[in-house]
């Protein structure tokens, strides 16, 4: 359970995952935040107004996956770095996955990085597709990688380079 070890259990994950039908339709955001903490920047970050918090700032974010277009603007807005974009249609065998990243080294486009699961285990190699550094994102980078489809729902962080920077 999340509260015991910081890792989502399958039941907890199911409460926030888009439907398999929606996953087949293209990029969609997944907000891995299920605690009622006082926080709401994701709501105003969404141009499609797909994220709501009906009871106020301590409500859990509710993402309408149907209206979500998977643009990724919410990824860097989340102070908890808890939002990811998954596109299962990237190719026949691969999905694309967009994650927030605030560490060194910064991977270059084309570079192969390790895909880490929620327990920090390297489960696959991933190719870096995009690295977005925007002034608006204030040093939170938004990185898109290509992962084998079977790992798209497990990988939630990357490890670039051999070490962690100088």
């Amino acid at each position: 359970m999340l509260i015991n070890d910081g890792i989502f259990s399958q039941t907890e994950l199911e409460s926030i995952l888009p439907s398999p039908e929606r996953m087949k339709k293209g990029p969609v955001a997944i907000i891995e935040c299920i605690q009622d903490i006082p926080c709401d920047p994701c709501v105003s970050s969404c141009p499609s107004h797909a994220i709501t918090m009906k009871s106020g700032i301590t409500d859990k974010p509710c993402l309408d996956h149907v209206h979500c277009i998977g643009c990724g603007l919410c990824v860097a807005s989340c102070p908890g770095l808890a939002i990811f974009i998954v596109d299962m249609n990237y190719s026949n065998r691969s999905a694309s996955l967009t994650v927030p990243h605030e560490l060194l080294p910064i991977p270059k486009v084309g570079e192969i990085v390790a895909g880490l699961d929620r327990a920090g285990k390297a489960v696959c190699e991933a190719k870096t597709l995009k690295v977005i550094k925007s002034k608006k994102y204030d040093k939170t980078m938004v990185i898109t990688i290509e992962v084998p489809k079977e790992h798209a729902m497990a990988v939630r962080a990357i490890k670039a380079g051999k070490g962690m920077g100088k």
Binding site: E102, L103, L104, I106, K139, G163, G165, K166
Partner: protein, 104 residues
């Protein structure tokens, strides 16, 4: 990988000019203006003094000049709180035993 952070994903560190100082007579490098205890820490020095009664090792602790763990003799003055005292060129830093000896 040394202890000084050369590159950081969020922060950049403005340092003064590189200078030399002496710890127990040994020549060391640091940056002008940074706390003495931080410069020693970066150089790998963990032991700063020994406690007065039980001779226990004492080092960097609170970093804000409150706990007195980091007291050392600096340019002849004992009980200098090295975590909040800025490093200057040619400074002489020595360990002290306990409360040190204040010369009359």
């Amino acid at each position: 990988m040394g202890l000084r952070i050369e590159e950081h994903p969020i922060l950049s560190f403005k340092k003064g000019r590189k200078i030399n100082f002496f710890f127990e007579g040994k020549n060391m490098e640091g940056f002008e203006g940074e706390p003495i205890a931080a410069a020693l820490h970066a150089a790998g020095v963990r032991l700063l003094r020994h406690s007065p009664h039980k001779n226990r090792a004492r080092g960097f602790f609170c970093a804000i000049g409150r706990c007195s763990s980091c007291m050392m003799e600096v340019d002849g003055e004992v009980n200098t709180m090295t975590c909040i005292t800025p490093l200057t060129d040619g400074m002489q830093i020595k360990m002290q035993k306990g409360h040190g000896v204040i010369k009359p």
